[in-house]
Each structure stands twice: as structure tokens, then as C-alpha cells.
Symmetry: C2
């Protein structure tokens, strides 16, 4: 429970200062200015009072109970102070002080020291190296933070690892006139994590939507679980910075080299139903719409405008984002005919023209509310000086309050003029999300609509596969591990694939030319032969692969040649495999993402993966819905369906392979990397024809 942190009845400021501009003074000033209803106890070694409040020499001297300590003293003294917090029975501490793990080993030691003391007494730690929290509940007014923005009460809570970005978001909400519920910026996050805060806010009935800013997760797996739980309860709008970071580990396999830290975060957002943003301004503006508007039931927008160009711009934004601006039904057009000015354009966008008043706007909105082919309403409202702009605003506010369909408004005006300030006040008090230009307004409606899609999407559960031989796989992995081998042999790889039901081209591993030839005969020519060696990662480059061997003679000379060139006197193992020409080359891979589990990758093999990096990732376990999404989300997905003259591939079979790979990884997390490259896909079925598995 984070109540002592977010709902403190008494706060002690350890490091209170009498100097106006110091943090130890600003925090008290902020609490006072915000009208904190609890008790404030400044702790100061000598001053009798700070900012008019009686000061105490130590926590022990404080007469009453304290829920929360605000710690601003040098880092070296922090472990001792946490000990004192524990002794005083304080249940939470915000450590503003820096000088801990962010500064290297010595700081990390200090951090470990205060954490040990905190654990001893059950003191929960927020920070260190952080800003603090805000709770705008008017019964409490807790501003435990040194920032300068004073938000009004509202329904949106904000958590940001970075205090700077947290401040930007808080200020942007403030500038938009949007209230805030709670705020938290927890810096080093040594104890209380973003996940824990998220879970707490998930249960906060006063919180309607959550804004999250992060630069990465200490425990992505925990976050994944919590985020899924919370995102099912209320909208979580998130942004992660560091998206262009060259942070992807330089792994040797395709999967490893394409899946970076950043992809993982995006995938977490996607899997859990979090709405992701790349632009903090877009995020905050979207939040304003989430604070008052319902979620659109679909992607069809009806536009009402009293000026042409901005409607074109909005339509562009919708079009580029997959939203539809559909034709109106004949019934709606007839209805509009009776209510609009003669110059009005009765299509979608509905141009009510600049001289339209409240009556025309209202009639147009009512028509769209009743139009079954429209899920949301976008309004361009320029305050033409020759119209009663207040009347228009009143009608928009009334329709917004109905809550039947979401409304956003591009409100184009000059707010330095008193008349238009009043028009805006009417819109705002009616809960109408207003933006100053068409793109901004349209993007907010796009966000609402996309969130609707996210909420209606059900990825389902991972499927069980019958007849899987997990024990056999475990024993193969165990044996390889026992001899310290990290890259599995072809025999091992194909045995594992077969154990998981993954279709493979018929194969034998052989040691002699005679065995090779009888394998070829058993499998049926044409065949492929490959040197089975972990040393040769790129076998074909080394001349360790020969394809389309049509008879025993060709097979014999290929094997002889490889043995001579690559083996010398050392006898090689060879994989003899059915040659399957003419299919579409696919790649299914997987790699471990640090502290998260496996990422599964799918794409078109060969030049597509190399030149286009056209691949899709999902976090394992991958459900059938997700596997299908992987197939449809690559840029080259049209190739799977087959173009003019070509046949499409058996997508159901490919989807099954992705799920089987996911199942294998879930059962055997010691697999670090795995590539089926290529999987040859045909109109009817698909077969892994080359595979690689690397273990811990």
C-alpha cells in the first residue's frame, strides 16, 4: 500500500532550510502554497522555525505521528536518517538527495545501506535522486515536490522516471487547463517502482487515465504483468525515450541483431494494451480528450466545419492514421438539408459555413449522433467575428456532455480577446477537448480511436499443442550443456523441432559417404547436403552446402569435395535433407531480451531480412492472434498472399510454427537464440530447412 506516500497525514522535511531558494525551503513553501491539510514538521539542526513553522532538531523530537519523510540532506547521512525514520515509525520516505547508484559503486553502496535500514523497519523508499509526489485531492493537497507547477484537481495521474519530463507533462496539462489526480517522479526507483505505482493507481477510483514516461524498465517482466492488469482497467498513455539509442546488443544471429531494448518496450506496450506515443505533446493532448470523452466504437469520423482548409488538414491526418471519413447516409443528408444554411456543403466534412450559428452546429451534431455510420465527431470551429460564438460553444458543450459519441474540437480563435475567452470557457466547462489547430485536434481523436481498437483487440491465450515431447528436448539440452556446448548440432536441432511438431524437411545426419547415399535414397532425391558443424555459422559462404543433388553421384562428389576442403583428415558429419525448391523463404527466430524473456521474430528470409529489415517481433508466449498479426504486419505481407501469377503460402501453417516455437521457448527458457532460416513455405504447408539453436 502506498497510502503513506500518496496520502500522508503528516510530512517531516529532513533538511529543511531557511534559505528562500534552497530545495529544503521550496518544498515547505510548495506544501504551504498548495494548501496541504496535513501537518508539516521541518527538521533543522538549529533554527527554531522554518517558514513560520516550528522546527525540530530531529525526527525523534517530533511530537506526533509522521507518515512521510522528505529527505534533502547529503547522501552520506541518508542511511542513518532512514534508521531514524524507522525508529520513529515513519512508513515512507521521499529521498530527493542525489549521490547514489547514479554515481557509481560508492553511491550504490550508500543506496544498499539505506535500503537495508528501510527493510528492517518496513520504511518504503521513493527515490533517491528524485522529485517527489503530488496529490491534488482537495481534502489533502499534498505537494511533496520542488517543482513549480500547481495543477488543479483532475482525473489524470502522471508517473515519470525523469523529473524533467514529468515537469514538462505536468506543465503541459496545466497549460491546457486539464486537472491532475496524482503525480510521481521516482528517479533511481530503488524501492517503489513504476509498476507498483501503476498498480496503486489502477485501484484509485478518482484516476480515469494514467500518463507514463519512462526510459526503460528495471524489471520489464514485472511491468508487463502489472501493465496488463492496469491497462485493462483504464487507459494508460505511455512514452519511452531512448527509442533511437544504439542500445541493441551486437548478437550474431539475425534475431539478436534486430531486436533491441527499444523494440522490447514497444512490444510490452503493444502486448499489454498501452497506447504508445513518440511525442510528449501528442500524449498530453490526447490525455485531455481521454479525461472527458468516451472511447469511439469504431474508426469512422464525422466532421463538422465552418471553414474549408482545416477540414482538409484533419481529413489528411485521419487518412494517414487509418481513420475513415465516410459518406453520410441519405437519411442524414436529408435531415441536414432541412437544418443548414443554403450555402452549406452537406457531405462529410459537413461545411456549415462561416456564418453558421448555434442552431446549425447543433443540428449538424445531432444528425451525426444519430448517423449509424459515424463513431466520433470532429469539429472545426473558427470564431468568425460576425457570429454568436458563445451560442455555438454552448451547443457543442451540451452535445459533449451527452457522452453519446466522443467529440474533439479544433477551436481557432484569438484568446487575447475577452469575447473569445468567454467562448472558450463555455467549451472548457462543458468538458470539450479543444485544440488550437486541426492537426493537433485530429491527432487527439486518432489517439482515442486507436485506444478503442486496442481495447477491442483480444490476443487470447497461448495454445497448448498435443503430442509435444518436452522431456526429450530437455534431455537433448541437458546433454549439450553437460559437455559445455552452446550451439546445438543439426541432429539436436532437428530432433527438438520434431519434438515440438515443427515440420522439417526429411533429414538424416550421416558420417560416411555410404551413409549419405543411402540416406539420399531413403529420403528421395533431389537432396541437399550440409556440413553439420557448429564452427561454420555461415555454411553456404564456406562452401559447406550443396543443393539440388539429383542422384547418388552428385551427392557423392559433393560430400567428397566438402570433406576434402573443410574436413581434411578430420571426419565430418553431414546433414542430408530433402531439397524443397520453389517455396517462399521465411525466417522464424527468437532471442532472449534481458529480464523480459524471449522475443519471437518473423519475416521474409534472404534479401528481405537483410536489405529491408522487414521483420515483426512479439514477446513470448505468442498467441494465435499475435502470430497472425506478425504475418500481416510486415511490409512485404503481400508476398505471403501471392502476387500476380504466384501462389500464396499456407499462412495457417506458418502461424502454427510461430506458436510452436513460442511454446518451445516457454518450456525451455535456457534457449538463448534460435533461428529457423529459412522456413520454406508452400501453398500447402511449410518446412524448416535450416535451424540453429544456442543455449546458455
Amino acid at each position: 500500500m502506498l497510502d503513506p506516500l500518496f496520502k500522508p497525514r503528516a510530512v517531516a522535511i529532513v533538511g529543511a532550510s531557511t534559505k528562500e531558494l534552497s530545495i529544503g525551503n521550496v518544498i515547505i513553501k510548495n506544501l504551504q502554497r498548495f494548501g496541504y491539510t496535513g501537518k508539516i514538521y521541518p527538521i533543522h539542526p538549529s533554527a527554531p522555525e522554518v517558514r513560520g513553522l516550528k522546527a525540530y532538531k530531529s525526527l525523534a523530537e517530533v511530537p506526533g505521528d509522521v507518515d512521510l519523510a522528505h529527505i534533502i540532506i547529503p547522501s552520506k547521512q541518508v542511511p542513518q536518517i532512514i534508521e531514524e525514520c524507522g525508529q520513529k515509525g515513519i512508513r515512507a520516505a521521499i529521498i530527493n538527495s542525489a549521490g547514489f547508484s547514479e554515481l557509481g559503486a560508492e553511491g550504490a553502496q550508500l543506496q544498499a545501506a539505506f535500503l537495508a535500514n528501510a527493510k528492517k523497519y518496513g520504511v518504503r523508499i521513493f527515490g533517491p535522486n528524485c522529485q517527489g509526489i503530488i496529490n491534488t485531492d482537495p481534502a489533502l493537497n499534498a505537494y511533496c515536490n520542488f517543482t513549480f507547477t500547481f495543477p488543479g484537481p483532475g482525473a489524470i495521474s502522471v508517473v515519470a522516471l525523469s523529473g524533467g519530463v514529468g515537469a514538462v507533462i505536468m506543465q503541459a496539462l496545466f497549460d491546457l487547463g486539464v486537472g491532475m489526480r496524482m503525480y510521481a517522479s521516482n528517479g533511481n526507483a530503488s524501492d517503489i517502482s513504476i509498476s507498483e505505482i501503476l498498480r496503486y493507481w489502477g485501484k484509485d477510483a478518482g484516476c480515469r487515465a494514467i500518463i507514463l514516461y519512462t526510459e526503460g524498465f528495471a524489471n520489464p517482466k514485472e511491468f508487463l504483468e502489472v501493465a496488463r492488469e492496469v491497462a485493462a482497467l483504464k487507459p494508460v498513455l505511455a512514452m519511452k525515450a531512448g527509442r533511437t539509442e544504439q542500445g541493441a546488443k551486437a548478437a550474431s544471429s539475425h534475431t539478436g541483431s534486430l531486436a533491441g531494448v527499444d523494440i522490447a518496450t514497444e512490444l510490452i506496450f503493444e502486448k499489454t494494451g498501452i497506447l504508445a506515443f513518440n511525442d510528449e505533446e501528442d500524449l498530453v493532448r490526447a490525455a485531455m480528450a481521454f479525461a472527458t470523452q468516451p472511447i469511439p466504437a469504431g474508426n469512422r469520423v464525422g466532421i463538422i466545419t465552418n471553414t474549408g482548409g482545416p477540414a482538409v488538414i484533419a481529413t489528411d491526418v485521419f487518412g494517414a492514421s487509418g481513420l475513415d471519413v465516410p459518406k453520410l447516409s441519405e437519411q442524414t443528408i436529408q435531415r441536414l438539408k432541412g437544418t443548414q444554411l443554403p450555402e452549406a456543403a452537406l457531405e462529410n466534412p459537413i461545411d456549415v459555413v462561416a456564418t453558421a450559428g448555434g442552431t446549425q452546429f447543433r443540428a449538424a451534431m445531432d444528425a451525426l449522433l444519430d448517423e449509424a455510420g459515424v463513431d466520433s465527431i470532429f469539429i472545426n470551429f473558427v470564431t468568425a467575428p460576425f457570429t454568436d460564438t458563445h451560442a455555438v460553444a454552448r451547443e457543442i458543450a451540451i452535445v459533449s456532455a451527452l457522452g453519446r459519441k466522443p467529440i474533439v474540437c479544433n477551436f481557432m480563435t484569438d484568446l487575447t480577446q475577452e469575447r473569445y475567452q468567454e467562448t472558450r470557457r463555455i467549451l472548457k466547462e462543458g468538458g470539450v477537448p479543444c485544440y488550437a489547430n486541426p492537426t493537433a485536434a485530429a491527432k487527439a481523436l486518432v489517439a482515442l480511436t486507436k485506444y478503442g481498437l486496442i481495447r477491442r483487440r483480444d490476443i487470447g491465450q497461448p495454445e497448448p499443442f498435443p503430442n509435444i515431447d518436452s522431456a526429450k528436448t530437455a534431455s537433448i539440452l541437458l546433454k549439450a550443456k553437460a559437455v559445455g556446448r552452446k550451439v546445438l548440432s543439426a541432429r539436436e536441432v532437428y530432433s527438438i523441432l520434431e519434438a515440438y511438431g515443427i515440420p522439417v524437411a526429411p533429414w538424416r545426419v550421416v558420417e560416411t559417404i555410404e551413409q549419405a547415399i543411402s540416406a539420399g535414397e531413403a529420403i528421395g532425391f533431389p537432396v541437399v547436403v550440409k556440413v553439420d558443424s557448429a564452427d561454420l555459422d555461415h555454411k553456404s559462404d564456406a562452401g559447406g552446402v550443396a543443393i539440388n543433388l539429383r542422384d547418388g553421384g552428385m551427392l557423392r562428389s559433393a560430400v567428397e569435395d566438402m570433406q576434402a576442403r573443410l574436413g581434411g583428415s578430420r571426419p565430418l558429419n553431414f546433414l542430408v535433407q530433402k531439397f524443397l525448391p520453389g517455396g517462399r523463404e521465411l525466417i522464424v527466430g527468437a532471442s532472449v531480451s534481458q529480464r523480459l524473456g524471449h522475443l519471437v521474430m518473423f519475416g521474409l528470409g534472404g534479401i528481405y531480412v537483410e536489405a529491408l529489415k522487414d521483420v515483426a517481433f512479439k514477446i513470448a508466449p505468442v498467441t494465435r492472434v499475435e502470430a497472425k498479426e506478425m504475418l500481416s504486419s510486415i511490409k512485404t505481407s503481400a508476398l505471403l498472399d501471392g502476387l500476380r501469377g504466384e501462389k500464396g503460402v499456407d499462412k495457417a501453417a506458418v502461424v502454427r510454427v510461430i506458436q510452436q516455437v513460442s511454446c518451445l521457448l516457454t518450456d525451455h527458457p535456457e534457449i538463448q537464440e534460435m533461428d529457423l532460416n529459412p522456413v520454406m513455405a508452400f501453398e500447402d504447408g511449410c518446412f524448416a530447412v535450416d535451424g540453429r539453436i544456442k543455449i546458455l
Copy 2:
């Protein structure tokens, strides 16, 4: 000369009204309120005065000279009024009234009528169905417009076809505190075009940058010429709406179906050096930076920040936009060491930390000004309550005023607090472009930097090709036209290609099996044979193509088969051509874009163009630089360089073919569509192996 429009010494309002909210009243009110220094003559049939000004019954009654008439009367009366304008010697008229070509045939007739009268007297027409103009020159203060925003003087001029978007842009500049030079929104643009206004502003010394909003060009060719001329003089920042419009003509060739109206506008912007935007807010914010800052000499940004997260976000924006945040030189780091607080991070971004004051900010900026590895400075400045924010602002303003390197500032503060308003005032008066969040600020610097790249790019001139046989081509085209043939035969196509030096696979057109076989022998097997028929656009689908015919027997049976299946008793023509296996399939095409000329297209052929639509376009004539850009700008350009184990293609040869095609189109504009698909490209050379030309 547009002086009578933009610098009127006297304005007559035809349709002046005594009603407060009517446009005929608002326009006079705006002129008065803006402090217009010229004379205002209301024209009213009966009222003795309007808004305190003496009114006249007709233009003829006006005692003095009139430069500009503002016309707000019903459309039917406009032709007569223009006649009267001419008689009065009025040189320009703004026609606000609607009801002309935008309403169909009847309106178009009225428009033609007033244009005829205007021409007779040399009256220049602005509009109709438009807003008007603004000139903020304090000596004039001309506000000939019915909008409600009152901009201060400045260096940015704004032209917008759509009045609504013009108003949004004007208001956004106003909200940012950025002054404006002139404004024009010309609606139907029946006479004075955006091109003419652009040229006029190009010569206006007081105009430092131009903002342009359009939804298309009536005369794109004229615009292309003017824009190139003006964009060479000053930055032109442009946005075109309708970018997602399904307006691409449904042409049958690849080129036709991929090149829409929208691509053409983008290409015009690119070719002329106009900086294009998709978001009006980004555009206006960038304009603020252009108004005061120099253009960066390169793409390397130095970041100074007093808070961590926003610097990460800015770095993301730079990274995603191709800007670099490079390591600082050892010398700069040493210099910083001596001047920064001990907690500061002396890398790039330079984190001066939240407690940094003016001294630290100034020292960091000075270090970056002298750092040769940095072209521009990005500042994150959060107004920490415990610092002297005015001092920081003063130092930033001083460095900005030096004009040595461009500076933009993400200024994070609460502007409802007086203290920070003062900090902002210091920055503003110093000409520092300030934004309220890191992404917005970073995007403005990206725009400045991209513009620098545009200015430094020299596309050069189209090259002349020696030994071109234009006369032969003209005669072929003439002959085809004479018999009403629009699709050229294979013989004609290949003859034209050869006349322009475009390498083609050796070919013969034959009529009999015997001719085919001797052609095969002359060319050398293997060969391809194709039915030469304009009726068979997709020959291979119809079975009209046979490849890799290794000897006379194979050729004979292929020809016999086609003749039987596709010709029956009607004798067919056949193209026999050298078979060139193993190259990379490319496509070079062209199509006519309405009123602009030819668009040339390049891409990888086959599935790439079909599944990925991965093609590049340029407006003809295409220079060598532009042709190279086409090769490098496709997503699959890595395939041209060759991937692991594959050879790259002869890019110089491909570049030459693109230029030769462009030359052919310039010489023979009657060519409507043309496709070389594929051009087979090899390590050494490339050859068109299938071609199609369609004429008017």
C-alpha cells in the same frame, strides 16, 4: 507589381455596412483598429456614414484616388462594379464575395465576366471568394481582411489559399509572439496567383521567410519556376493538404498508378528547394526559428540541458531525423571542466544540472560556439525555482544575438507566474526561439538543419547527350500518330530507345518462323521471344512470352505455339531478343503529370514495385544528381550495392538511363507514358529488355 494590393494608399469598401457583425462593417473596423494610415472610403447606397466615416453612393463619387477596392456585394453585381473600378482608375480589387467558379457553371460565367472587365482597365483581381491581405508595415498598417487576429510587425509573410488555414497560421504565429510581414489569402485566385505573390515577396527586403499553404496549384509549371527563383532568395516553408487524397489517376501503367497529384507537389517542393511540412504547427514553430536564427552549417547538434529526460527526448528526435549529437572534442571537455559545477556531465548532451546559473550556461554555450564539431546549439532550460532564471535567460539571449551558430531553446516553465514571464521576456527580446517541450524545440532545429541541407544541395543542370537522333524519334512518333496508334510497337519502342542511346538487349522483330530462327542465330542463343502486339499489355500472363530458348528448335516450337494460341490464322509479329539472365530487375518509367510535365520513376522491378511500391519519382528534366538521389532514396537501395555474396549493379549506367529517358521526354513531350520494365542491371552495364511507350 502588386503594390496597389499590398500597399494601398486608399481603400474603398464596396458593400460597406452599418451592421456591427456584417463583413462590410468588420473590414472597416479592422482597418481602423489596425491603425491604417491611408484613406478609407465606405461605399453605401444610402447611409451618410459608416463607422464614423463619410460614405459615398458610388465609386465615382469618391473625391480622391483609390488604389484598392474591397468588394463584399452579391456576386451578380460584381462584373458591373469591376467596370466602375476601371473607370475610377482603381488598380486592384479584393473580391470577398463568394458565388463564382466554386459554385459551377453559372458562377464561372460571372467570374469570366468580371475578369474581362478587369482586363479592359488593367484592374488586378485578388479572389474572389477570399479573405484579403494584411500588411503590418507600421507606416501603412493595412488590414484588408475580415479575420480577427492582429499581428505585430515582423519578417515572416504568409500566403494561404484557404482562409481558414491562413487564419490558423496567423494566429499560431501570434500566439508564439512572432511578428508577421504580409498576409494573403486569395481564395479562387482568378487572377493574382500564389506564384505572383511569391515573386513579389521574393523582392520584399523586409520579408525574411515565407510560409505557404496550398491545396494544389492551378499552374504547377509556373509555380515550379517561380518557387525555384524565390526559394533561392529566402526560406520558403510550405504545406500542402490533400496528401492522402485518393486523387491519383487510375492509369494502367505502373508509373501512372503510383504517381498521384500529391507526389507531384512534394516533388515540386523538393526540386525547388522548398522546405515541406505535414503539420501546420511544426511549420509555424519552425518559422519562428527562421525569423531570428542563422542556418546551421551542418547536422551536428550540441545540447546543453539542466534536466536529464528532456535531453533524451531531444536526442531521439535528432536521431530519428538524421541529425547527429556528436562526442565533444577533448579540448571542449577540458574547457567545460574548468567552468561547470562538479555534478555536471561533460559530454553531449552537456548536463549543467538543475542548479546551474547564468555563468555555467554561458560557459557551456561559449564552449559549443568554439567547438568545431558542432553546428547548432539546443538548450533545455527548465526554470528551477532555486536558480536565478533571469541571469540564465540573459546569457542565452546574448549568445543568440551573436548569430554565430543557431540556437533554439526548450523553455520549460509556468508562464502564469510573473517571475517566469519576465524570464521569457528576456529570451524573446533576445530573439531566442522558445518552445514549451523538447520535441517541439528539437523539431524546429531539425527544420533549420534540413533547410541548410537543401540550400547546400545543388542539383545541377540536365546533361546533354551526344549522338541522339531526335529526328528519327520524331518521325516514328509522327507515323504512329498518323495512323491513330497510341501504343507503340516493339520495333518502334526499341528504335526510339536506341536513338536516345539507351542500351537494349539485342533484338529483331520478325514475322515468320524462319526469320525468327535466323534472328536467333544472328543475336546468339539463348533468346527470348515475345508476341509484338499492343493488344497484349500483360504478355506473359497471356502466354505471349517464352524465355531462355537455347536453340533453334526451342525457338521454333515457342513461336509455333504462340502463333497457334494467340494468332490463329492472323499472322503475328514476334520480337526475338537476347536472353540476359541473372541481373537485377529494375524499372524506369515516366508519365505525364497534369499541367506540370513528366514525372520520371525508378525502382526495383517485379515483386518490389508490386508488393512494396518502393519507387522514387522526380520531375523531368532529371539531372545527374537527381538520378543518383533516385537510386539512393528507395528503401531497397541496398540491393543495388549487392548483399552478402551478390554483386552490386552498375549504378552509373542506371543513372545514365534515367537521364536519357528524361532527355527523351523533354524532346518529345507527346509521350504520355513510358515503362522500361524490366531494365536488367549487371555489375557492368544495364539493358532495357522490355519497353512500352504510349503517346497522345
